[in-house]
């Protein structure tokens, strides 16, 4: 299955902003992070198709994964 991964803020350092990943069925965000060499502790906000996601939620074909480090403002 193909998923789109969008990285933001400091997670873009030495990585692409957006990438397509070909994963085996049932893969989770945890495996995506591992492939990208991102420690789970660096992730503050995880969205799957714009909704709050969990690191162990199985992903589906065409899912969009948005990953943010701690950010804030206002």
């Amino acid at each position: 299955m193909i998923i789109e991964v969008r990285l933001f803020a400091t997670l873009r350092e030495n990585r692409q902003k957006v990438l397509q990943m070909d994963l085996i069925e049932g893969s989770t965000t945890e495996e995506v992070l591992s492939k990208l060499n991102i420690a789970p502790a660096e992730v503050a906000i995880l969205l799957i198709n714009g909704r709050d996601g969990l690191i162990d939620t199985p992903l589906k074909d065409n899912d969009v994964l948005s990953i943010f480090p701690p950010v804030g403002g206002g």
Binding site: R6, F8, A9, T10, R12, K17, A44, I45, L47, N49, G50, R51, D52, S66, F68, P69, P70, V71, G72, G73, G74
Partner: protein, 597 residues
């Protein structure tokens, strides 16, 4: 008692005189300082029914007990008055260095009364105070005023001034200080203009007394550590500024575009904090005593200027359909020069664009600059015309509600209590919707920033679509924020600090024995006082609501598509949690228990 200088300057502009008064320390203990204390003074002294732009209105510049002290972010000041935009109590909060300077000059607040016959400015140099002619400054933009006053009085003098917008009584005019910091919201700059008061200059060389310096060192060290180690205050804000929110709010599908006709924006990445850092950022800047330094200094073409903040980028960007970040930086600069609130100015232009799109504003009205969504030239030109009330800019200067009402379609104004909403669509963030509807100064995100738990996960992650517990969260955030504002610290510290941290700092500075709970209770006292004032000033209970587009239409695009706001459920719960009646009127018992009556 440390923290407070114990002195107030009371200026009578009508008679060009002033006197020094002692601060009422009993009131200070109940209302902390800043927002709470100045509002208490204001409400005690001014009839709630007066016209905000009449000489009967008073204008208060106030610091908090922690302003000017060696505490993290201790540089805030607030402008308190009745708002000409909303008719509510107004408290507009600003950073920079001006607030700390006033404190170091020896004053907790300045209460300004009456109206000068001709333009004046107030000059404060420690204990020398004078009211001076400002006719040579009238009509000038804020950076020019600041440069001229610095040339006249010395580089170390800090300047707070209005621009042409405040002089021309624009209901969305700001008070600017230190060139690019703003007491932006609720039209406080118009009240200053109505008094023929162009600027207040301050030079202070004193120190603020600290009750327990050793204890203060200890608690400041602990709080600075929390700020440094927190991901938001130690990393996100310093690296990207507030603009880092553009992508996250858009990815959640709650990033309003084209005057809230959409909830996602194709130009988000092009106008993001990441793009700002990559293409335009020159340097980071920090306010007085700030370990975070979220301020930006950016360069585009031959312009180098402060800002822009997230809300401004959203307003001139997505809400006007503009994906040219350079144009946004320029529009922000012109808001600062004109002395306009960037949120209200940008979103009023967005409302005008919808009026133009739907044929209410005609081709012949726009004087060669079509108000089309996406037109970067239009946001620049109309910001200038709004500031000087040129042509149709005269109507825009009244804010979006009065503009749209004039065309018979007030529903195009995305505002609460006539003040424009900021950059988060509450249909996909239930707690934030309740916070908007019940804000005591109308449409506003910093009266209760529910984005923090509902989107950012701080202090814990809440489901943004759920209603459960949200009424209580909103109450706590409103009360806590009111207390932080009153202390003189920046609200951004609350990403890292808890109520007990503020109480510890306050106690070390002032020699008191507050707890985290009594600190928040002071905030509740302030919130209830504000609500009672608003009701007395003529705000109707049913104005605790949201624009009809938000109430009646679900989000139509993006990841939050189909979600709608549930104010019908949340509002009654909120009133109950507040101890108010079903119409949202504070009960006698509640007011007595808080010591308000």
């Amino acid at each position: 008692m440390g923290g407070y200088t114990g002195k107030i300057i009371r200026v009578d502009l009508t008679n060009k005189s002033f006197k020094i008064e002692a601060l009422d320390l009993n009131l200070a203990k109940q209302y902390i300082g800043g927002r709470g204390l100045a509002e208490r003074y204001y409400i005690n002294e001014v009839d709630a029914k007066i016209d905000a732009l009449s000489p009967e209105n008073k204008l208060i510049f106030v610091t908090g007990p922690l302003s000017g002290t060696p505490t993290p972010t201790g540089g805030r000041y607030m402008v308190v008055t009745k708002s000409p935009l909303t008719g509510t109590i107004a408290c507009s909060n600003s950073g920079g260095r001006w607030g700390a300077e006033l404190k170091l000059a020896g004053y907790d607040m300045i209460i300004i009364e009456g109206k000068a016959e001709a333009p004046v400015y107030i000059n404060i140099n420690d204990d020398e105070i004078s009211i001076k002619d400002a006719s040579h400054l009238w009509g000038k933009v804020t950076s020019e005023v600041t440069k001229e006053l610095n040339a006249e009085l010395g580089d170390k003098v800090k300047v707070a001034t209005i621009g042409p917008a405040g002089e021309k009584l624009s209901k969305i005019a700001a008070v600017m200080n230190d060139i690019d910091r703003a007491a932006g919201r609720s039209g406080v700059g118009a009240v200053m203009g109505s008094k023929n008061l162009k600027a207040i200059t301050v030079r202070g060389t004193g120190k603020v007394a600290i009750s327990n310096p050793e204890k203060l060192k200890e608690v400041v060290s602990s709080c600075n550590k929390k700020i440094r180690e927190n991901g938001v205050t130690g990393q996100g804000l310093p690296t990207y500024g507030t603009a880092v929110l553009v992508n996250i709010i858009n990815e959640n599908g709650v990033f309003p575009a084209n005057n809230w006709q959409q909830s996602t924006f194709d130009g988000a990445e092009a106008t993001s904090g990441e793009t700002l850092a990559e293409k335009y950022l020159v340097k980071r800047t920090g306010c007085y005593g700030c370990p975070i330094a979220c301020g930006r200094h950016c360069k585009v073409d031959d312009l180098e200027a402060g800002g822009p903040e997230y809300e401004t980028i959203w307003g001139f960007g997505a809400d006007c359909g503009v994906s040219d970040l350079g144009a946004v930086i320029k529009a922000n600069y012109w808001c600062n020069e004109m002395g306009l609130d960037t949120i209200s100015a940008a979103t009023t232009i967005a409302a005008a664009m919808e009026l133009y799109q739907k044929g209410y504003i005609k081709q012949e009205d726009v004087d060669g600059v079509p108000l089309e969504f996406g037109n970067a030239d239009a946001v620049l030109e109309w910001t200038k015309r709004m500031g000087t009330r040129q042509g149709l800019g005269d109507k825009l200067a009244e804010g979006s509600y009065r503009l749209c009402e004039g065309y018979g379609v007030p529903e195009f104004s995305m505002s609460v209590k006539k003040q424009e909403l900021p950059a988060y669509d509450p249909r996909g963030i239930q707690g934030q919707g309740l916070a908007y509807a019940t804000s005591n100064r109308g449409g506003c995100h910093v009266r209760a920033y529910l984005i923090s738990p509902e989107i950012l996960g701080l202090p814990e992650k809440l489901d943004r679509f759920s209603l459960e517990g949200k009424a209580t969260w909103v109450k706590i955030f409103q009360d806590f924020t009111a207390a932080i504002d009153s202390s003189g610290l920046c609200l951004f510290t609350s990403f890292a600090m808890g109520a007990q941290d503020y109480a510890d700092i306050y106690n070390a500075v002032c020699g008191t024995e507050l707890t985290g709970d009594t600190f928040i209770e002071a905030g509740e006292r302030i919130w209830n006082m504000e609500k009672v004032y608003n009701l007395e000033s003529g705000i109707k209970p049913e104005e605790d609501t949201l624009p009809s587009r938000i109430l009646n239409e679900a989000i139509g695009d993006g990841p939050s598509k189909g979600s709608s706001v549930r104010l019908d459920v949340l509002l009654p719960e909120y009133y109950e949690v507040r101890g108010w009646d079903t119409r949202g009127i504070p009960s006698e018992d509640k007011l007595v228990s808080l010591g308000i009556k």
